[in-house]
């Protein structure tokens, strides 16, 4: 599903040049659950941003379902993104002005799904995530675990092929964290490909494969399953 080769990303300020990704190459197959680990500054987040089409690489190739997307323009990237990729963040990133229901509904709106269909799908999803009773609450009124469940609901409501999770349990206590990991595992079992950046060995053990990074390169790959 994803094949990157010789991916390079360099951040330049006036005096310093930081190589975030250094000729990185790897491949993720459909249905896989991959964890990316490594110390702070090793390039994990940069990688995730490029995989999520939020950022573009300076050089190298990025094949998404066999299509070269490394140098797509913003409109094309946005289009590919909204149809195929869901995001889960450490800090949830819910919109404070929208209710739980409306936050989850947002991707469907941008996809142009009709109102009735949207309602059905959002409710289904909220039910599945067991936050139906909170549908009219605002994010600030929820606990961290509940907020992350809403964020996951939002990420998967449009049935993306790929979920990118950036430290999804980083802001949660262990029991809420485990709950979220169970959720991701369930989704993976239903066929969604997941790539997750994490610091936690515990969380990484939910995945099939761990890619360890250092200074913008992969160091080892452990296959867990």
């Amino acid at each position: 599903m994803i094949r990157i080769s010789d991916l390079e990303k360099i951040y330049r300020t006036e005096e310093v040049e930081t190589i975030a990704l250094n000729k990185l190459s790897f491949q993720v197959n459909e249905g896989e659950f991959v964890a990316v680990m490594g110390p702070s500054g090793c390039g994990k987040s940069t990688l995730l941003n490029i995989l999520g089409l939020l950022d573009d690489p300076d050089s190298g190739s990025f094949l998404f379902n066999g299509i070269e997307v490394a140098h797509f323009n913003e409109r094309k990237r946005a289009d590919l993104r909204k149809r195929n990729i869901g995001f889960v963040f450490q800090s949830f990133n819910l919109i404070d002005e929208l209710t739980v229901f409306e936050n989850v509904e947002l991707p469907l709106i941008y996809l142009g799904v009709k109102g009735e269909e949207r309602k059905k799908r959002v409710e289904e999803m909220l039910d599945k995530m067991q936050i139906m009773h909170r549908r009219n609450h605002y994010p600030q009124q929820l606990s961290g675990g509940q907020q992350q469940r809403v964020a996951v609901a939002r990420a998967v409501v449009n049935k993306p092929k790929l979920i990118l999770a950036d430290e999804p349990t980083g802001n949660l206590d262990s029991s809420n964290g485990n709950e979220v990991m169970e959720l991701l595992t369930d989704l993976n079992e239903q066929g969604t490909t997941i790539i997750m950046v994490t610091h936690s060995e515990h969380d990484a053990r939910y995945s099939h494969r761990i890619i360890r990074m250092l200074d913008g390169q992969t160091v080892t790959e452990n296959i867990l399953v």
């Binding site: 941003n49 939020l54 950022d55 409109r75 946005a78 149809r83 990133n93 002005e97 941008y110």
Partner: protein
């Protein structure tokens, strides 16, 4: 999708209530000011547009060239109108009108009708003054036909039908027949009349040769050209027409008139005759500009606050992009929000304008509009305009916001770009430039007003009561009765008083070379004590004196301006020279010091005075300040016994003279109001920006305080940047305002010079206002606990 936009827009507005309030309030105030000014401008431009034939109606004006000057009477000679009709097939109708104040009596009801006119018979065909009763084609055909306005008719006839009834008009009590009732003439009409009397009364009964008098100038003459007739071609034929009709007399008198046309619709704002140009196109331009400026200031606030707040919206933008929003969708969302804010402001504007309109009418001194909903189309335009404003004010913030990269903003690595800061600074400078320029202008306008009112006029207007007797034969006995009253100091008579109009007389005065020079001299007929009572100073020769018998017919006094016109280097030289004026010949016996017999907007013109008791209708009574009401009551009771036919009315000289400045005072007041508004809106914006930038620097302030910064240090830190902007604005605004006001002052013959202190005061005021606005926020931030502010980061 739209519902989602609305939802988030309203929730956002509500969450940031203070900013929303500043935004909406600023826009509403700006739009309200703009709407009111627009109504005013529209009204000023609407003069005489209600005549359906307005595009074909022209007024004929006339310049007369004499060997030494060009005279500008208010109209051509009496003969021009009727003769044009005979000579030019393209002239469909010609109407002459003459303003008057006619005494009207019906039983016990009597009024001096101040807005009366005599008009030719096609008056109601040429102009769209609707007759509710009577026939517009025949109402003014016969002599002594009268048409009243509805409200005037009510005074004399109450509920009875006026048509066919009679009233007594003029001091002679002529019986006139009411032949029509017209709708009250609207305010935006150059011709104002409550009563129209047939011109035939004058041309057939009073003065049967008038229609052929070519040397008798000053009559308002309107022509209606046939559809398709070329006005320029018509004008080109007029010199030959005059030559044909009046060539011999022109040569004889050495006076050569030129006729030209003024479009009916242009007279009010653009006429070359000051008496008709009661409006002022420059004021229309100035106010339009002010309206645009105020709206701009409000829009700038909007742009500033929205972009300044963009950091806060950045996270939302990031998330929306991540879940699939395209840039165009986000742009639409933000423009939509801005349009919503403008529409809320639009609704507030409608309410505020409706509430303020009566006060604004009062301020403008006329009913510019009876209600903002008078014209539905206009409201529709305003509605579209507010959408447009929302669009324009929203487009920049929308583009900025939608361009955020989700990666950056979601990581919190977001900082507002220097471009945005530069833009905001630029807009603040623009706002303050406009505000400061308005402050400077207001100071100058008020100074000029003050100057005009305090200027030594060269005569005394205090405690001077003036009564118009309209030449009533009993006025002499009235004067004699009044002069003996205890609180009356002196009484005199004249044809004119300062601040009112006076005739210009065709005169020949011996000049320094000894020739009899032709001139159009302003003329006052006066009584013996006039110069004394008005405390006009003599600079050479002597005042009129009862002991010189010849003074009654053969003496003239000139002012210094006249002496100069005839080439004399000193006033003394002019004394003893000859004059020939309106059939009287004699000597110049004295020269008086120039006094302002017109407003200070005009230069003091050459003036002559002669004793002519028959020409004097105005009685001036110098009264003592003690017990004024009793004195007035006593004078009124004398009037009622001696001149019972006429209603008693009077005015005081000082108020009467100041009336001339009423439109300038209104201009000043309007200007002041809008200047204050502009400053308020600018400050609202500044307040918003200051509180925003303070909020953004909370962490910095906390760190600085922990490192030992004092409260004044912090206030200084936060205010400095804004004050710099104000300083730049002062530098830009001063020359602009100087230039604009220098130009404005050119309208006044007697004017202040613009002192440097004006700019200092304005700069100081603006700085102070800005400082107060900004430091309010800065102090709040500076005194807060640094631990708290650091924790919030």
């Amino acid at each position: 999708m739209l519902r989602n936009y609305f939802k988030i827009a309203f929730r956002n507005l509500w969450r940031h209530r203070v900013f929303s309030l500043i935004n909406i309030l600023g826009l509403s105030v700006g739009m309200t000011a703009c709407l009111l000014i627009f109504l005013y401008v529209r009204f000023e431009l609407s003069y005489d547009s209600f005549h359906s034939k307005a595009d074909r109606i022209y007024r004929i004006v006339c310049d007369i060239k004499t060997p030494t000057e060009t005279l500008k009477p208010n109209g051509p000679s009496w003969a021009v109108g009727p003769h044009l009709m005979g000579d030019f097939p393209q002239v469909e109708a010609a109407v002459r009108t003459t303003g008057d104040e006619i005494l009207v009596r019906k039983g016990n009801v009597k009024f001096q009708e101040k807005n009366s006119i005599w008009a030719d018979s096609s008056f109601f065909e040429m102009f769209d003054f609707k007759l509710v009763r009577g026939n517009p084609h025949t109402a003014l055909n016969e002599i002594l036909n009268v048409v009243f306005s509805e409200s005037a008719a009510k005074k004399y006839f109450g509920k009875t039908d006026p048509i066919g009834q009679t009233v007594l008009i003029t001091g002679d009590g002529l019986t006139a027949k009411v032949t029509g009732i017209m709708k009250d003439i609207p305010e935006n009409s150059l011709i104002k009349a409550d009563m129209v009397v047939s011109m035939n009364t004058i041309t057939r009964k009073f003065n049967p040769t008038l229609n052929d008098q070519w040397g008798n100038y000053g009559n308002n003459t309107f022509v209606l050209l046939k559809p398709g007739a070329d006005a320029a071609k018509f004008t080109a034929q007029l010199p030959a027409f005059l030559e044909r009709k009046n060539g011999t007399e022109m040569k004889q008198l050495n006076m050569y008139p030129t006729l030209y046309l003024e479009k009916m619709r242009d007279i009010y704002l653009r006429s070359t005759r000051d008496d008709s140009k009661t409006g002022n196109i420059n004021n229309v331009y100035i106010f339009s500009l002010v309206a645009i400026f105020i709206l701009l200031i409000a829009c700038f606030n909007f742009i500033n606050l929205t972009t300044a707040r963009s950091a806060e919206r950045a996270k939302e933008v990031g998330i929306r992009k991540v879940v699939g929003a395209g840039r165009s969708q986000l742009t639409r969302q933000f423009i939509g929000e801005s349009v919503i804010v403008c529409l809320i402001a639009f609704i507030i504007t409608l309410a505020a304008s409706t509430l303020l309109l009566p006060a604004f009418n009062l301020l403008a001194g006329k009913t510019i509009s009876n209600g903002i909903f008078e014209s539905k189309g206009f409201i529709a335009i305003l509605f579209l305009a507010s959408i447009a404003i929302g669009f324009l004010a929203g487009i920049y913030p929308a583009l900025v916001l939608s361009s955020f990269k989700p990666v950056t903003v979601l990581k919190g690595r977001f900082t507002t770009g220097t471009k945005g800061i530069l833009l905001r600074k630029g807009l603040v400078i623009a706002q303050f430039t406009i505000s400061i320029a308005l402050i400077i202008s207001t100071i100058i306008v008020y100074n000029q007003m003050n100057y005009m009112q305090r200027q030594d006029l060269g005569f005394s207007k205090d405690q001077m009561m003036v009564i118009d007797t309209y030449g009533d034969p009993a006025r002499n006995s009235f004067m004699q009765a009044v002069v003996t009253m205890p609180n009356v100091k002196s009484v005199t008579m004249s044809s004119s008083v300062p601040g009112g109009g006076n005739p210009g007389a065709y005169s020949k005065i011996q000049n320094v070379k000894g020739e009899m020079q032709i001139a159009n001299l302003d003329l006052y007929f006066v009584d013996w004590d006039y110069v004394k009572q008005y405390q006009i100073k003599m600079v050479a020769g002597r005042d009129f004196n009862r002991s010189f018998q010849t003074d009654t017919t053969q003496a003239m006094i000139l002012n210094e301006a006249a002496v100069k016109q005839f080439g004399y280097r000193s006033a003394k030289e002019a004394v003893g020279r000859d004059f020939d004026q309106w059939g009287r010949k004699g000597k110049i016996i004295g020269v008086m010091k120039d006094f302002h017999f017109r407003s200070l907007q005009t230069d003091i013109k050459p003036l002559s005075m002669r004793i002519e008791p028959n020409g004097c209708g105005l009685v001036s009574i110098k009264v003592s300040a003690n017990n004024l009401p009793k004195t007035i009551a006593a004078i009124e009771s004398k009037w009622n016994t001696l001149i019972p036919a006429r209603p008693f009315s009077y005015f005081f000289m000082d108020e009467f003279f100041d009336k001339q400045y009423r439109s300038e005072q209104r201009f000043g007041k309007l200007f002041l109001n809008f200047a204050v508004l502009a400053i308020i809106i600018s400050c609202l914006g500044l307040l918003g920006l200051a509180s925003y930038s303070t909020m953004q620097r909370t962490r910095e302030i906390g760190i600085r305080k922990i490192l030992g910064a004092s409260v004044p240090n912090i206030v200084n830190l936060l205010s400095k940047d804004f004050l710099k902007l104000v300083a730049v604005a002062v530098i830009i605004a001063s020359p602009l305002a100087w230039y604009a006001m220098h130009t404005w002052l050119q309208d006044f013959a007697y004017r202040i010079s613009i002192g440097w202190w004006v700019f200092v005061v304005a700069a100081f005021a603006a700085t102070l206002i800005a400082l107060m606005t900004v430091s309010f926020q800065a102090i709040k931030a500076a005194v807060s606990n640094p631990v708290k502010s650091l924790r919030t980061e």
